[in-house]
Amino acid sequence: MSELQFSEESLLPDAATLERLALSSSGFLFDPVSGHSFTLNETGRDILKILQETRDLKALKQQLSDEYDLDSSTLDRDLLEFLGSVRDQLRRP
């Protein structure tokens, strides 16, 4: 099975959004525009932290596979779902 290719543009939160999000080391996330707050688990927190540093899916995947013990299809699957729900949750009024 070939590695799934995501369309970065549609999947990742845009740069401006990533920049404004306040992310604490405990996984508490606050969006000052919507006023919503969120709890991320450890993995979710790591993913957003990486994305705030480099908004690059390839780099994200590389870094996650270096840090976490998992196969690439699980990573693809879980990223697809997680980034989809981050995008969706941040879009809510």
Partner: protein
């Protein structure tokens, strides 16, 4: 070289909402358990497959003893009759019969099953609105304790009694307003309208019938224990009344079942520990008015009527759990997560009215998220939990659904999927299969194909379009 990488946990993001915890109920992070009745869940699934029903014989016996203790310490003559319809797996019935329980049955089938499990006729309480002539003939011949539901049954029993030249002792089922429950007036004879007394007169005037017992079963999962105080007062009052008026001698009062088990009814947001009365509370409610109402007859030297209990769910519910396995995770368009498991409502009927407890079998890390748990059936109704706060789970993870001992192993049906195995844990963590999983043969055993529909050698070839 050892892998220093961290274990992967599905990433999750959960929006904060106020009031969420109350509404949904949650799985606390530390709440997990990897064994049932002292046996590893992983080992059970490995050997017996998933889903899997697991019964703890010890818990079942403890519950029955606890029930008897609660009542026998408050009233001197108590008899327990196991409500077959609640769970009539042979192993469950036998364990309870070994604890001294009689059988309480509500059909010809249940009667036959009780007899086949070695219960003598005179230890079977025969209830229910449908008793066939042949089942009544057998029950009468074997001295079963029949409790009559309606006049047509009364006349049928009388005609059998006459044919056989016997005098048949019977009971009648009463219904009445307790003030705390809705009257299940479709069963038995109504007290307030005088219907029950009319039936008692009819029995008193029969040369072949004798009224010996009074029965009532006011409902099921009755959370207000005061309802039983009212019930006992009304039935005991009727007993004194009917004895005085018709001259009969009642020797047993059967108060039925209905005590709530430690399960969470949908729509009630308080946990069972806070709303379900203890067996001692129920016992106190029943026994106090019984003793008061029978004080005089004891003073006159008559024995106390035996108190019969038909407790079902409160004895068996928490003695059984269901292990189920996660087959998929999904995200719903509204943001909720959903988990598909391999046990559906066809084996877990009680999911329609309970929010069953869902216990992970490993320490689930990650923030709990609002989750729907669906069963495996390709049917919209197949929902195991409509909403629960659950940390992320992986496919292959097992979950324990509990308590499930009441009404599931009797109301379940083979639908779309095969029904799974049921095992009993007993002794020193020994595991016995007490019901085998179904196979194609089990399902098709009763079917017959007329010859012209039987499969032939030509099957599998495409049909001839010219025909």
């Amino acid at each position: 070289m050892t892998d220093a990488r961290k274990p992967w946990v599905k990433p999750s993001i959960v929006m904060h909402r106020s009031g969420m915890v109350n509404k949904f109920g949650s799985v606390q992070r530390s709440q997990w358990q990897d064994q049932l009745a002292g046996v590893s869940v992983a080992a059970l699934v490995e050997e017996h497959g998933s889903p899997l029903f697991v019964i703890s014989e010890q818990k079942l016996r403890d519950n029955a003893r606890h029930l008897l203790h609660a009542f026998a310490t408050r009233y001197p003559s108590v008899r327990y009759a196991w409500s077959y319809k609640t769970n009539y797996l042979g192993a469950v019935c036998r364990a309870l019969h070994q604890e001294g329980a009689w059988a309480e049955v509500v059909s010809g089938f249940e009667y036959e099953k009780a007899r086949s499990l070695g219960v003598p006729g005179n230890e079977i309480v025969f209830n229910g609105p449908h008793k066939t002539r042949s089942s009544l003939e057998r029950a009468i011949a074997e001295g079963a304790r029949i409790q009559v539901d309606h006049l047509d049954e009364l006349y049928l029993i009388e005609s059998i009694a006459r044919e056989t030249g016997r005098r048949v002792p019977i009971g009648i089922r009463l219904n009445y307003e307790t003030g705390y429950t809705e009257n299940w007036s479709r069963f038995g004879f109504n007290v307030e309208s005088g219907q029950a007394m009319d039936a008692a007169w009819r029995i008193a005037n029969s040369d072949s019938l004798e009224l010996k017992w009074l029965h009532s079963h006011i409902g099921t999962f009755v959370l207000d224990h005061r309802a039983y105080g009212a019930a006992a007062r009304i039935v005991a009052g009727f007993m004194n009344d009917v004895e005085q008026k018709t001259g009969c001698e009642i020797d047993a009062i059967d108060i039925g079942g209905g005590f709530a088990s430690h399960n969470a009814l949908q729509g009630i947001y308080l946990p069972p520990e806070q709303v379900v009365p203890s067996l001692d509370q129920y016992a106190e409610e029943v026994c106090t008015p019984l003793l008061e109402a029978t004080y005089e007859r004891v003073a006159r030297g008559r024995p106390l009527p035996t108190l019969i209990l038909e407790t079902g769910r409160a004895v068996v519910d928490d003695a059984e759990s269901l292990i189920t396995t996660v087959v998929a995770n999904k995200k719903m368009p509204d943001g909720r997560r959903c988990v598909i498991v391999d046990a559906g409502v066809n084996v877990l009927f009680t999911a329609f009215w309970y929010n069953h407890q869902i216990t992970p079998t490993r320490d689930l890390t990650g923030a709990p998220e609002e989750t729907v748990i669906y069963g495996p059936l390709c049917m919209n109704i197949d929902v195991i939990r409509k909403s629960i706060l659950l940390p992320p789970v992986r496919t292959g993870d097992t979950l324990i659904v509990s308590p499930v001992g009441a009404y599931n192993n009797t109301q379940w049906l083979q639908f779309i999927e095969y029904r799974p195995r049921v095992v009993l844990v007993h002794g020193e963590a020994e595991v016995s299969v007490v019901r085998e999983r179904e196979t194609l043969a089990t399902v098709t055993e009763l079917e017959q194909l007329p010859p012209h529909l039987a499969p032939t050698d030509h099957d599998g070839q495409s049909p001839d379009p010219s025909r």
